[in-house]
Assembly symmetry: C2
Homo-oligomer: 531 residues x 2
């Protein structure tokens, strides 16, 4: 991997430091001027992006453009797409892998960035299409010859959050009589609750684990398999897998079909690979799953644009750096005004914090600046009745990203007091951005709003499979751009290893199958103690 500068070593950085001393005040009248509303806004294929509500002006934008260029952000993005080994740290033992989640979306191109990876994707897509055709026709069915109606998706982390959030987002586009339930947590209550809801005899169980050895997934697989045994069902007619080629899950004796994922796609970037597509294909049908990919492909292409005012992912990334690294905001709130996106903040939390919650730069040295922020959020308008109090009047300044749509997904709405619910959603979202930005003067100090809380707004037409693919890819690209600017490896996750190995040591100390008490816990902890 070539050396690329961190943002702190650029000339633009010095200028931005200076500019950050007196950032644009959103509490000024200029914030909602026609000029600003017009200029700090642009449309991509699927989203209008409003950023007049950020603490920026033309000078800041110009420097952010320079920073993007000095850090070669777009060039690195293209290098990633073409198969350069981006998952690496110089001089340090690391995964040393390509990063090619975009290759799955490059199937629509005549000239894909990485022919080999896109070829592998096409092969799996062909397998999936053929499999789904057989499921639809009844050629693949249960032992009684009945069709499958339910998928039990068993995975954790990247094999769960992304697929689950997209499923929830697209729930209303499902094929008739198809549903999906998810089991992720090793919590036995979770699995039991899910399994109580389904007819096992009509269920396909999709075990998703790249290594085929993830302890939670393995445990839940055994738990589900026991349920099949108890029901007198032969699990071998029901289980499929998404896994690495040659893993323990790649076994036709135990699995009706095994779909492959490759090391060049990391878990948190795997929703558009077989990790998400097998489930989505089953639920939505193959064609809608491909639309989802198409939406992502559009954004992957848009993200190649060098002009930050024409590249939403890049501008989102740079505005995030401005708020976090220059204006000192420790956390980022993702606020979708769409209940369908209720799990999307949790997916982004993973994708962002696991990618950019790092302290080591790509040369193996410790960074001397802040990397990724804490990411959290809940849908509006619910959140307005909850944590928005702190956003408006708290002492922690949080930056926000709103996501909204002009039309409801389902065509069911009601007019109350002259407006539809969808209009109320949109009006609330815009009003919140204005309130956070502009604040309000008041003689009553408890009704004083200082404003200057920055946000941006992504506004789409309607949340369809294609738009969901675009939204997902937009945030993936944003996160990757930020990692490049912070000069960190956004593609490994060494930070999750220590807890895992300590848990394994504790489990050895535990007696088989015993419930503990507080003495046990202290005894267990003593296992780590030296003194």
């Amino acid at each position: 991997m070539k050396q690329r500068p961190a943002y702190t070593s650029t000339a633009a950085h010095q200028k931005l430091l200076q500019l950050s001393q007196q950032p644009f005040s959103l509490a000024s009248e200029a914030t909602l001027s026609s000029k600003r509303l017009q200029n700090y806004h642009f449309c991509s294929k699927h989203f209008d992006f409003h950023y007049w509500s950020q603490r920026i002006d033309d000078d800041v934008l110009e420097c952010l453009q320079e920073l993007a260029e000095e850090c070669q952000l777009v060039d690195q993005f293209k290098a990633m797409k073409s198969g350069e080994v981006m998952n690496a740290i110089a001089g340090v033992e690391s995964e040393n892998r390509q990063v090619l989640h975009t290759a799955y979306r490059d199937i629509f191109s005549d000239n894909p960035w990485c022919q080999q990876a896109t070829g592998l994707a096409q092969a799996e897509l062909a397998k999936l299409k053929e499999f789904l055709t057989q499921v639809d026709s009844g050629a693949i069915c249960n032992q009684q010859g009945e069709s499958f109606t339910t998928m039990i998706h068993v995975g954790i982390g990247g094999s769960d959050l992304g697929p689950r959030s997209v499923y929830e987002a697209l729930k209303c586009f499902g094929l008739p009589d198809r549903r999906v339930v998810f089991i992720a947590n090793v919590d036995p209550d979770d699995a039991a609750a899910m399994l109580d809801q389904v007819d096992l005899s009509r269920s396909l169980v999709n075990i998703v684990s790249k290594s085929g050895t993830t302890l939670e997934t393995l445990t839940n697989e055994i738990l589900v398999r026991e349920k099949f045994d108890q029901a007198g069902l032969d699990y071998r007619h029901h289980f499929i897998a998404v896994t690495g080629e040659g893993s323990p899950l790649d076994n036709p004796e135990k699995y009706v079909r095994s779909f492959y994922i490759y090391d060049h796609i990391g878990g948190r970037y795997s929703t558009t690979s077989m990790v998400g597509l097998v489930m989505l294909g089953f639920y939505l049908g193959y064609n809608k799953a491909v639309e989802f990919l198409r939406g992502a492909a559009v954004v992957d292409r848009e993200a190649e644009e060098q002009d930050i005012r024409q590249n939403q992912a890049l501008l989102l990334a740079l505005l995030g750096i401005w708020n976090h690294s220059y204006l000192g905001m420790a956390s980022l709130a993702i606020l979708p005004y769409s209940q369908a996106l209720h799990r999307f903040p949790a997916h982004l939390q993973q994708c962002d914090m696991e990618s950019n919650g790092k302290s080591l730069n790509r040369e193996g040295g410790m960074v001397d600046y802040q990397t990724g922020p804490v990411v959290w959020g809940e849908p509006g308008t619910n959140g307005q009745h909850a944590f928005y109090q702190l956003l408006h009047q708290g002492t922690e300044i949080v930056s926000s990203e709103f996501i909204g749509f002009r039309e409801a997904q389902r065509q069911k709405d009601v007019i109350v007091q002259g407006t539809t619910s969808q209009q109320k959603l949109v009006a609330n979202m815009l009003a919140q951005a204005v309130a956070l930005a502009c604040g309000q003067k008041s003689a009553n100090p408890n009704r004083l709003f200082q404003g200057n809380r920055p946000s941006s707004i992504l506004m789409g037409k309607r949340l369809t499979p294609e738009v969901m693919g675009a939204l997902l890819a937009l945030y993936e690209a944003k996160i990757v751009f930020q990692g490049f600017a912070w000069n960190i490896n956004s593609f490994d996750q060494e930070g999750v290893q220590l807890g895992k190995s300590l848990a394994t040591r504790l489990l050895v100390e535990m007696g088989p199958g015993q419930d503990g008490d507080e003495t046990t816990e202290r005894r267990l902890l003593k296992a780590f103690a030296i003194g």
Copy 2:
């Protein structure tokens, strides 16, 4: 309301400032010494509380005790319980109300703190018991004489998050053939999705709004009522309400029954009032709902203890202040190792951030210190495969609160590799606390963990209705104690008003029932512009 000092004006504060310069290093061997594990830990009726994993020593604890006393935290808590007007700001127009959510839990006492409020609670509980008896016996039923099996709970904010999180937590304790669905968001897709799942003819619709005028709830009520009309059902046999006496929802012509809530219980503290209890009573049965109250009552009593080492709510509060106000951690992660608690962090996010996300002190002046942190979280072990990377190796230091249980709720478990899933959950939770605290040295800088990430652990036996009540009350008391120390009014929410009024202005600008486009949005925003 009497004047009470903010923490910054105490003598303890000066000492804590000093001590915070060199806080205890958790990366030392002493962290897991027998003495520390033993001393920094104590049991209440329902929880063992471990805090050896905080950056504290005896000196810090002593100062925190002093701070609690100088700020009269426990005395203020008792004053609140006895009916003093705590929801007020001196010299500023404010709600000027008592704060008496604890009065509902004081029904078990022969000598309640506030006889009048507890009397009102008892009257509503008697109404509820009688109502549920009639629902159970079939005396209250649909027009075909069939019993009700489903409750559609319609509320938002405090009328939604608390009840919903408790319902999710206690799902496995429900009466046979009873279920609850929730509609909160004004998003029409949300309501449509929920209503698709239920048999309206067997449903009770519970409209929850103190004022009876909350726009989202009103809108959703109309939407649900239209569904009843379309199904040829007379809604007047199906709708009940939880509301203020005399509100538009207090109307026997439209509602089978209206249960009352009073101004002395704020939305986010209302789960143990009729706001949560009507739903819980329907789902769990009256007796289990009372057990839930009993758990809360136990904690309300425990929270009167002056010794911080015997008062879990108070110690949680003070450790939070230590981490946030002295060690500078901007956010707090709530990490339940129980999938049943998957919505509990969202409830706490509301309860905490809406209470303590303030900038005005109780004398009407602006604070010159940080008040409440950002609160967020997701269940483990899922989170371990997601955002824990940042917790371990990120540059933002986050403090964490783990919540776990020794036994599964349902008695279904599986032994894999010698241990049950529940043991794996507990082992993972303890291991994470150790890993965050102690870190790990390594020659590979990417496997280096600096440690010193503080956390605490609440460990219960099993998540029952009583234990859930205790957990809820524990956090309520914690939040209230922190508000007292920061000398803010934790009981109002002026910060949500501005967005609401701007949204109303926007809705007036919108044409009736039209979908917008990007020009419309800019036109709308221009409505706020002066220039």
